[in-house]
Symmetry: C2
Subunit: 148 residues, 2 copies
DNA sequence: GGTCTAACTGAAATTTGATTTCAATTAGAC
DNA sequence: GTCTAATTGAAATCAAATTTCAGTTAGACC
């Protein structure tokens, strides 16, 4: 119940963001957002498509809307450096990064990146307006350590 | 002079790493490494190929050897999240990351990432053997701020 | 030096994630 | 309801990256 309530609230918030940015709330967009809010996990365009194609959403629209939803701030792009794009939902107050197993691809979230001062310092030193950062930590999970 | 001496020393060191790993020191590999040590900058496979094709090095070999040289620790993969692979030379005692302008792609290096404790903490918490991390900071350079 | 062979190469073919094109559909303003 | 610009899905296309394969070569061994 908590979950579906949260999902509903997030969806309304997202719809409002879309409207505010001048975009329509189309069926593909709603389906994609609902899926992400239910799953609350990162996914590649093909994974998203596999999950929504039964609702008549084409792969092209998946690509287009993942990009658009990220631009509006409903999704965010993440990168595991395996050659695939990935997106995940932006949840309120959730700033995290990923620890990735180089052996099997298993991913663990972590939340204490603590890079605010670095961003400030960089802005001061370079004159850049600093926006955001992406951080990925790599290693080997317990299982993959044994297999070596 | 300092520079060419350094280049020479790095090249010998790299050749030794290759030998040690059981790989041959072929002409394409030497040409690619020489180019990276001279340029000391990140580059995409196509940029590397443009620079070495006049020495008879094919694009396929560029791809293959960038991957191999990275695996041996002579190069390292870097990522600007623009859909292209990039590599740069591993120079002794040089740990840096990139501040990238989302407007024009201009890149500034920085050296004070300070993520060792985070890595240790993650290792302790998760049981992963932590290897390395990748960090990219995004913003807008002075020029691109005006254009907006 | 010469001989040998597994490692390596470049060109061409192929794969595949992502983008572009375009005619048909639709969200939402009026 | 009417209208229209935004949006869609299928197909075509693009381009980065990989695979294939016959020919070449680094370097071990004499
Ligand atoms: Mn995540
Ligand atoms: Mn660099
Ligand atoms: Zn693993
Ligand atoms: Zn810029």
């Amino acid at each position: 119940m908590k979950n579906s309530e949260g999902s509903q609230a997030l969806l309304e918030e997202a719809a409002s963001k879309l409207r505010q940015a001048g975009y329509k709330l189309t069926r593909p967009r709603r389906v994609i957002m609902e899926w992400f809010y239910r799953k609350q996990e990162h996914a590649t365009p093909h994974q998203v498509h596999a999950a929504v194609k039964d609702f008549g959403v084409g792969l092209t629209s998946v690509y287009r809307n993942l990009e658009l939803l990220a631009q509006v701030g409903i999704l965010r792009q993440v990168c595991f450096h395996d050659g695939y794009q990935r997106y995940e939902p932006v949840l309120p107050g959730d700033h995290h990064h990923h620890l990735i197993c180089s052996g099997c691809g298993k991913v663990v979230k972590f939340f204490n990146c603590d890079l605010d001062k670095l961003e400030e310092q960089l802005a001061a030193e370079t004159g850049y307006v600093v926006d955001r950062h992406m951080l990925q930590v790599f290693g080997y999970c317990r299982r993959c350590q044994k297999d070596r």
